[in-house]
Each structure stands twice: as structure tokens, then as C-alpha cells.
Amino acid sequence: MKYVPYVLLAIAALLFPYAVSQVFLHTPIEAEMGTAQKIFYFHVPLAWTTMVFGVVCGIAAGIQLRIRSERAEAIAVAAGEMVVLCGAGVLITGPIWGDATWGTPWTGDARQTSTALLWLVFVAYLLVRRYGPANSDRLAAALAIFGAVDVPIIYYAVKIWKTIHPQTTVVGSLPGSMWATLWLCVAAILPTCIALVWIRADQERSAMALDRAWIERDAAAATA
């Protein structure tokens, strides 16, 4: 198990150059959007990864609150950081694509707004963990759960307002070669993120063990 993240990173390192060459050299240019559509192969996997780790963070935070599991807490922290990282990627690539396709980088449509708010909730999660009071671990966990509950609601609230984002049916109607390249990019990005979350969760658990050892040493010194 110790070497799993490194194996995943090695696989991703092999797949990444191949995926990039497929995107730019071997996949046909989309008729309506032109070369700007190439950003889709990075934007969509990053968005999926953001959503996956948002859910992972919410579930891990729930387990952390229920059974006081250090492992769950470490996974929640690592997943929360990955949401912020990948979410930043989505929020950078999305407006670039939007500017080229819609003529404006930000339209305030349902998916844009819900992604931006998901990102803000997880930034707040990390801020509370880093600068919060003594009970910040539990408070941050509640924040992550609330964030996971909030996102579909925000999505619905903005959807009844206005939306021009490509619908799922548009993505579903892509030709097979584009789908294959998209899956290749997912296969390169997702293992990288899983490996990074794995390594970061291990780091977090080591930090918790060090904190505990420090407290025990202090307690032993006080008794002596």
C-alpha cells in the first residue's frame, strides 16, 4: 500500500505526454468552437475531479464527526486542498474557454456560479482549519458537510435564474475520438490527484501523530 501513490504517479507521468499529444495532434478540431475547444480536455477532467473530491471531503468529514477517526480527518483535509487546487484550475480554464466561445469570460450561469461557490466554501474550510479556534477541526468538518449540501441547492437556485452553459446532452453527443481523448485526460489527471491526496493524507496523519507525541511529552514533563 505504501507504494500505491508512487505507482499512480508513474502511470500518470507516462499517460500525460501521450494525452497531450492526442489532444493537440490526433483529435479533430471541433467544427463550431474551433481550437478553443481543446481546453475542454483539461477543463472537464478538472471539474469532475473537483466534484469527486468535494464529495470525498464531505463524506470523510461526516465520518470524522461521527466516529472521531483521524484517518477520515486526514483524508478530508487532503481532499479539501485538492478541491481548492482543481477548482482553481476549473475557474481559470472555464473563463478562457467561455471568452473564446461565448465572447465573455463570466456569464454568471448555473455551473459557473456553483463551481465558484464550491471553491469558496472549500477555501473557507481550509481557512477555518488553519486559523480557527481550538474546535476548528469539528467546525471545519461541519463546513465541509454544509458545503456538500449547499452545492446542488446553489446549482438549482442559479439554474432557475439563467443558464447558457453547455448541457450534458451536448457533451454526450461528442464524436467517439473526442470521447476517447477525454477519457485519456481523465486517466492522466485523476490518478495524479488521487496520489497527491494519498501522500498529503499520510503527511497530515504524521503531523497529528507528532502533535499527540508533543502533548504527551508535555504532560509527562508536567507530572515529573
Binding site: A124, N135, R138, A142
Partner: protein, 246 residues
């Protein structure tokens, strides 16, 4: 019944304190008036057709700011009098503590809304506030304030420590209360436009409030664990101290 009675007793206690000092109502009410005057100065030249689209934003932005101010003070008062730890140690259902603080916050927000909405109706007559059905407007204001207070009370309680960390409340509060504010904004705009589906929007809003209230009530006890503790030393400070001791 037991929960309701405990909630009522705790709410009555907070209201009694508030009636003696009028601190929350006066400060929040004054803040509302200041924001109202600022809106009047900044947007008095708005065109008639723009006003119905701008006023919903003004209402909910102002209430969001007033809410953050009120939530901080509701728990600060307990912290300053060192009564929060005693309240947590008392044989009272934690949910009753949550509900009582929620009701106090809701009361203050509704008083501020009662100042704000007629004020905006006077300053921006073309917005159509006076033509909107009063019952629907009242229900909408109640639902908006309830949803906001439901989320806010949970996190204000979690940050009610002695370490001055409640500044983080705004960081947490605004992203999390966005669904409520968005719904309120859309529903208010529809109400002012005289949209036919106002009551179905209000029913959806009530469902949203029920979800937020349920999740917040479920998480309240978990969040409160450790609130009475002394702040933990900062990890960086600890490692510096360790290096110095070596």
C-alpha cells in the same frame, strides 16, 4: 414539549437581557439606517426601470451584513459574561440553545427588515414594493431571514470562543448562506415584477429552509464540542518553541 419549553425559557432569558440594554436592536437598527442612507446617496439617480432589479439586491445585501453583525454579538455577549460554558454545562438540550439563539437573531433581522423595506420603498418608489402583495412579502422576508439565521447561528456558536476567532464568521457565513440569499433574491425580484409563480417559489424556499435548519440542528452538538476549551497553541509557534528549548 420539553424541548419547546427549554427553548422558550432560553429565548425569554435572551429577550429579557435585550429589553434591558436594547444593544442588539439599537446597533443593528442603526446600522440598517446607515446602509439605507448610503444606498440613497449612491443609487438615488437609478432609472425607474432599473429600480425593480436593483432593490432585491439591496434588501438582501443589507440583511446579510446586519445578520453577520447580530450573530457575532449574540454569542459575544455570552462570551463576555462567561456564561457560554455555564450554558453548555447546564442540563439543557443543545438543540434548545441553538433554537433560542436562532429565534433571537431572527427577531433582530425581522426588526431591521421592517425598517429597511419601507425605507427602500420610500427612496425607490418605482421598485414597486408598495404594489407587491404584503402577505407574500412578509412570508418571503421571514423565510429569507430564517434560512440565513439557521446557517449563521451554527457557525457563530462554533466560533464563540475566547480567542477572538469570530472574525472568521464572515469568511464562513457568506459562501454558505449564498443559496438562501440567491433564492431570496430571485423570489423578491419575481414578487416585485408581479410574477404569477410567487407562492410556488415561496414553497420551494420553505423546503430549502427546512433542509438547512435540519442539517444545522444535526451538526450543532458536534460543532459545540470543544467550544469552551482554551485555544490550542499554533503549530508554528510550537515548533519554534521546541527548537528554542533544544
Amino acid at each position: 414539549m420539553h424541548l419547546l419549553r427549554q427553548t422558550w425559557l432560553l429565548t425569554r432569558n435572551d429577550l429579557r437581557q435585550e429589553l434591558r440594554q436594547l444593544e442588539l436592536v439599537v446597533t443593528a437598527g442603526f446600522f440598517t439606517l446607515v446602509v439605507l442612507i448610503m444606498f440613497a446617496l449612491a443609487f438615488s439617480t437609478l432609472d425607474d426601470e432599473v429600480q425593480p432589479r436593483a432593490v432585491p439586491g439591496m434588501i438582501w445585501l443589507c440583511l446579510a451584513f446586519v445578520g453577520a453583525l447580530t450573530l457575532t454579538r449574540v454569542f459575544d455577549r455570552e462570551r463576555e459574561a462567561s456564561t457560554f460554558a455555564a450554558l453548555l454545562a447546564a442540563p439543557v438540550d443543545r438543540l434548545a440553545i441553538y433554537l433560542s439563539k436562532l429565534l433571537v437573531t431572527l427577531g433582530v433581522l425581522l426588526i431591521c427588515a421592517a425598517l429597511l423595506i419601507p425605507g427602500l420603498a420610500l427612496i425607490f418608489p418605482a421598485a414597486g414594493i408598495t404594489r407587491a402583495p404584503m402577505l407574500a412579502l412578509g412570508v418571503l422576508t421571514l423565510l429569507g431571514c430564517l434560512g440565513y439565521a439557521a446557517v449563521g447561528t451554527l457557525f457563530a456558536a462554533g466560533l464563540a470562543t475566547s480567542s477572538g476567532k469570530n472574525v472568521l464568521l464572515s469568511v464562513v457565513l457568506y459562501p454558505l448562506t449564498t443559496p438562501v440569499l440567491l433564492f431570496a433574491l430571485v423570489a423578491t425580484a419575481r414578487l416585485l415584477e408581479g410574477h404569477a409563480e410567487t407562492w410556488s417559489a415561496l414553497a420551494q424556499f420553505a423546503a430549502l429552509d427546512a433542509i438547512l435548519l435540519g442539517v444545522a440542528a444535526w451538526l450543532f452538538e458536534s460543532v459545540l464540542v470543544g467550544v469552551g476549551q482554551a485555544p490550542a497553541p499554533h503549530p508554528t509557534a510550537r515548533s519554534t518553541a521546541e527548537r528554542t528549548s533544544r
